[in-house]
């Protein structure tokens, strides 16, 4: 294939955001040349599935986010396994590591996030891993394959990535200790009670959780290899391997190279456009609109990346569209415990109202501000949580039926009639549906 030197649409990043954009562009523009550049060598794969890959034999083909013919069918050129090193907005060019320049008319920075690496002694030791992409899972898999005995692992960070890698390691027979700096695990997406349920599930399979402490350095008894972790209270935890799972931060180097405005993430408006003309950003790299907070912030979750990418793509192709916004949202299923949460799960001050129900091992919590939903968490039974999420997203005042939101029998019928009618599709011949509120009555003739 001849080298790509010039395209109409150039997308950097081959994950949820990049694919969302490419699909949206093709809805509007069937022919304009699209190229996707990624430093990863694989076709788009589902990043959350790296734990399935690590946990048990799970072929890479099954991890693919789109069908194998996706790129060909959509006429998308790919430049995979090559790093992008610089953007020049004034010249509309991207420079690759090889030195090659690509000219573009519209550019999308869907560069994702990179693991946060603490500045701590021993980070370069063998046996220390990050956990963010397929190659990380492959490296850990290879490491584990060398052992014939039980492996001990320390996972630094009790967030989503930490718990996710822990589940996979446990399935591989590894003894895991999680170190979480804050008081409880998953503290950015769960409240203490839902977190405790998750912690129970982890303890049940033998995971050791240490909260309220941090690692201060990696210990090494054999030159070049990690042998454990030193904690801030002087404890030494022996380990064959250490996973750094503190979090991810937006990858901003490309944006910075082009002097594009960044804050915590790349700054975008509601059309996902950056401060630089013809350049858009989305996903974990950007800070897009959060409809709960009413302001922009990074919400690094897969569905928001896709949605933001989609809006960016539509705008790149000339179809003016506004991003409705996303918020923090997660569906977890670690160790058989299903939990969903979205928005704020820990109210920041006392202007919020919290309603909680615990029943038959199911935990439901909703958080309201001025009668509108600001967040919720459901554990043990996630059914119908979508109704709550959309009431929150649509900014509906739920004050009149707020207690019903956490009830076991909550459902569409719990909403006011106008609200559930609006949610249900209507048939082409509306006349077939009887919508009068008063049923026809026949005169009752007395006997």
């Amino acid at each position: 294939m001849p080298a790509v030197n010039q395209v109409k649409y150039l997308i950097i990043g081959n994950s949820a955001g990049g694919i969302g954009a490419a699909e949206a562009i093709r809805e509007v523009d069937r022919v304009g040349a699209i190229a996707i550049v990624s430093d990863e060598p694989y076709p788009a794969y589902s990043r959350p599935l790296i734990s399935e890959y690590l946990a048990h034999p799970y072929p890479v083909e099954k991890m693919l986010y789109r069908k194998p013919d996706f790129y060909e069918k959509n006429k998308i050129k790919t430049i995979l396994g090559e790093k992008s090193v610089g953007v020049k907005p004034s010249e509309h060019t991207l420079k690759l590591e090889s030195g090659r320049l690509i000219k573009w008319q519209k550019l999308l920075l869907a560069t994702g996030g990179a693991p946060i690496i603490p500045s701590m002694e021993g980070m370069q030791l063998k046996g220390v891993f990050t956990y963010n992409k397929l190659d990380d899972a492959k490296a850990i898999d290879e490491f584990l394959n060398k052992y014939r005995r039980t492996v001990k692992a320390v996972v630094i960070g009790g967030g989503l990535i930490g718990v996710s890698v822990t589940e996979a390691l446990v399935k591989r027979g590894v003894e895991v200790t999680i170190i979480e700096m804050k008081d409880y695990i998953l503290n950015t997406i769960l409240d203490t009670e839902a977190s405790a349920l998750e912690a129970d599930a982890l303890s049940h399979v033998g995971v050791n959780i240490i909260t309220g402490h941090t690692a201060t350095k990696m210990n090494s008894h054999i030159a070049g290899e990690v042998s454990g972790v030193a904690l801030d209270d002087g404890r030494a935890l022996p380990a064959d391997m250490v996973i750094i799972a503190i979090g991810v931060r937006p990858r901003l180097d490309l944006a910075t190279s082009g002097k594009i405005k960044t804050n915590r993430g790349i700054v975008v408006d509601r059309t996902m456009a950056t401060s630089s003309a013809d350049i858009y950003a989305c996903g974990d790299a950007a800070e897009a609109y959060d409809f709960v907070l009413g302001e922009n912030r990074p919400t690094p979750v897969w569905p928001n990346a896709y949605e933001g990418g989609r809006v960016a793509g539509l705008n790149m192709a000339g179809k003016k569209t506004e991003y409705a916004g996303g918020t923090a949202m997660n569906a977890l299923k670690y160790f058989g415990l299903n939990i969903v949460s979205a928005g704020l799960v820990n109210p920041p001050d006392n202007t919020y109202e919290t309603i909680i129900a615990r029943h038959n091992g199911v935990y439901r919590k909703v958080i309201l501000k001025k009668g509108k939903l600001a967040g919720f968490a459901f554990a043990g039974d996630i059914e119908k949580s979508g109704i709550i999420y959309n009431l929150m997203k649509d900014g509906i005042n739920v004050n009149d039926y707020k207690q019903a939101l956490v009830a076991d029998d909550f459902g569409l019928a719990s909403l006011p009639e106008a609200a559930w009618r609006a949610k249900l599709a209507k048939p082409s011949a509306s006349a077939v549906l009887i919508t009068t509120t008063e049923p026809p009555e026949e005169p009752i003739i007395g006997d």
Partner: protein, 158 residues
């Protein structure tokens, strides 16, 4: 596309739609066996939501803006361009529940034994969906949807 609509005024909340949906997804074709012998019991893709005298038979509406397809982490949920049907590829579904979290009706259900999400496929091998065929009160109708007159603004809303 043809969809199932509920005639709420004549739905009595008998749950037969759920019963026949469960049977449709059971291994056996015998109602009693499906309920009493099959373990785990098959799951109905339909839910009847009730409050007071209101009862609503709720299922996937294969909606045009497909929030579930867009949110799916693995690409297991797709829309068939030919039939407009939104379906779950069980091979690729990991049962995380993200689809259910973003669904305005909250309809995708977790099959706890399979660890997969399940939802209505409008009984592709039947002339009309079994819930409609077995509704004793014609509270369920199977027909074309009202044309979407709102047009462009859908992306902005979701």
């Amino acid at each position: 596309m043809k969809k199932v609509f509920v005639n709420e005024q004549v739905c009595m909340g008998c749950h037969l739609c759920e019963v026949y949906c469960l049977l449709k997804h059971a291994k056996t074709k015998d109602l009693v066996k499906a309920y009493k012998k099959e373990s785990p019991r098959a799951l109905s893709r339909i839910r009847v939501d009730e409050s007071g005298i209101v009862s609503l038979s709720v299922r996937c509406e294969h909606c045009a803006d497909e929030p579930c397809v867009r949110a799916c982490l693995t690409g297991a949920l797709t829309r068939d361009p030919a039939t407009s049907l939104v379906t779950v590829d069980e091979e690729r579904c990991i049962g995380c529940g993200t689809c259910s979290l973003v669904c305005p009706l909250g309809v995708p259900k977790l099959d706890k034994s399979l660890k997969k999400m399940v939802k209505c496929d409008l009984c592709q091998d039947e002339e009309i969906p079994v819930c409609v065929a077995n509704c004793p009160n014609e509270a369920l109708v199977y027909m074309e949807e009202e044309a979407d007159v709102s047009g462009v603004a859908r992306d902005a809303r979701r």
